[in-house]
Amino acid sequence: MRLASRVKKVPPSGIRKFFDIVEQMEDVISLGVGEPDFVTPWHIREACIYAIEQGYTMYTSNYGLLELREEISEYIKRNFKVEYNPENEILVTVGVSEGLDLGIRALVDIGDEVIIHEPSYVAYKPCVIFSEGKVMTLETKPEEEFRITPEELEKKITPKTKILIMNYPNNPTGATMEKKHLEEIADIVVEHDLFVISDEIYAKLTYNGKHVSFASLNGMKERTLLLNGFSKAFAMTGFRIGYACANKELIEAMMKIHQYSMLCASIASQKAAIEALKHGEKEVKSMVEQYNQRRRFIVKRLNEIGLECFEPKGAFYAFPSIKITKLSSEEFSERLLKEEKVAVVPGNAFGKCGEGFIRCSYANSIENIDEALQRIERFVNKNG
């Protein structure tokens, strides 16, 4: 057997190694988890159980249940001020992950250049490589609050540039982008005739202000593939349910791939998602409030410990610098795990420029975060 070369080109996940060590240890406090610590609100789980009891165990339309698409359309209009036709501009996907894969496969031809800002979520680059596109990395910096700046973006653009992948609120930095900064990017997008894939899965987890969807900017709806889902805001990661919104032409193209691969998202998850959109607002608010409390707590404590941390305004990650310890991200993470039993993710797992940082998820109880920070403090004092 000979594996496809484009698959071999993608290195194995850098996180895997830590995962294997953690699995063999006891009493580890993990700040390395990229999903909510809350269990899905009960009314959503209950609606899902009820749907299965009622016999909803079949395929749905490739696009997803129309009722769900209508709810999604309403939800996006209400929250992010951009309108999509539920009939043909929304596709229900198996998480944002599938939406991302479909979007890239529908848009990227061999050799097309795709700009990806880093540090960023680990899936963007491999997906582009699987489509034989060319990844152009744009490094973002804490001094600029991990924003994409127009200057840096211009530098990466060539005649072959086709797509910009954006992810704000950002995993792993927690950075967000304000409207005025997004507008600067939009101008460049128009000037160079680019298309944007905007992964806004953390949109609801925005603190101190409201999330601005890139698609809601003047003229951007036609140039944006908006990806979002239920995993983070509604604590529904395991349901694997998300949605893609774009112009009719792109959604149809993505649906073509989707119908021959995934066919449709699980009907039980779609039913749960309908319940989430209809009655989930109160629970979301309560979870966001608690994330925000933990965010303030972890950022203040990290800075006190001496791990300088830019203030994250979204998602549930803090991304402190570990430069005072003079250790590399991997050394720091591995030794912290072995010596103090705290798991974090080394920043370089999210791109080269993540070196010198670690990602600490605060999707954990205040008690656990507190205990983890005491251990980190001990570790830093030993190595400072």
């Binding site: 996180i15 953690v22 993990s30 390395g32 988890v33 303030r296 707590f297 993710v345």
Partner: protein
């Protein structure tokens, strides 16, 4: 900030003031001042512990008693309620709509003790017309806390 502060304390009454301050992004002094104010105003009533007595090995007996009463001129249900609430056996007391008037939660060490409380103290009260006693067989949830084994963490330890 005030509502958030109360919610934090409702979840965990023993959390330190400095931690609350950090969680809310205010100073510890402000938190102290607010808590004192809430205590003085009676918004914070008291700090108690939710105990699973059954697990400790000392079972308490609870009964929910539906009480029909004759309201009194000028005072309605308040004067009879006041008489009932003063008994230490009475844990909760509510005026309710529907088939009866007062709902009383009584706690005792044995069924006999609860039964004699009803027969000797509650039922003989002048305004009480009738009582219906329901002994509690199992407590699943109390004060918003589920009294069965806590759910274990099922998340993978590290995910991107």
């Amino acid at each position: 900030m005030e509502e958030e502060l109360l919610k934090i304390l409702e979840r965990d009454a023993r959390i330190s003031k400095s931690k609350i301050a950090e969680m809310l992004g205010v100073t510890e002094e402000e938190v102290k001042k607010k808590i004192k104010e809430f205590e003085e105003k009676g918004i914070i009533r008291k700090y108690k512990t939710v105990i699973n007595w059954e697990k400790f090995g000392k079972e308490k007996v609870y009964a929910l008693i539906d009480v029909k009463v004759t309201p009194q001129r000028d005072k309605g249900y308040d004067s009879v309620a006041e008489r009932i609430m003063r008994f230490p056996e009475v844990k909760n007391l509510y005026l309710v709509s529907g088939l009866y008037d007062l709902s009383v939660l009584v706690q005792g060490d044995s069924m006999k003790e609860v039964a004699s409380f009803v027969a000797e103290k509650l039922a003989p009260l002048e305004q009480v017309q009738s009582t219906t006693t329901h002994f509690l067989l199992k407590i699943y949830k109390e004060e918003g806390d589920i009294l069965v084994e806590k759910e274990k963490n099922k998340r993978l330890a590290i995910t991107p």
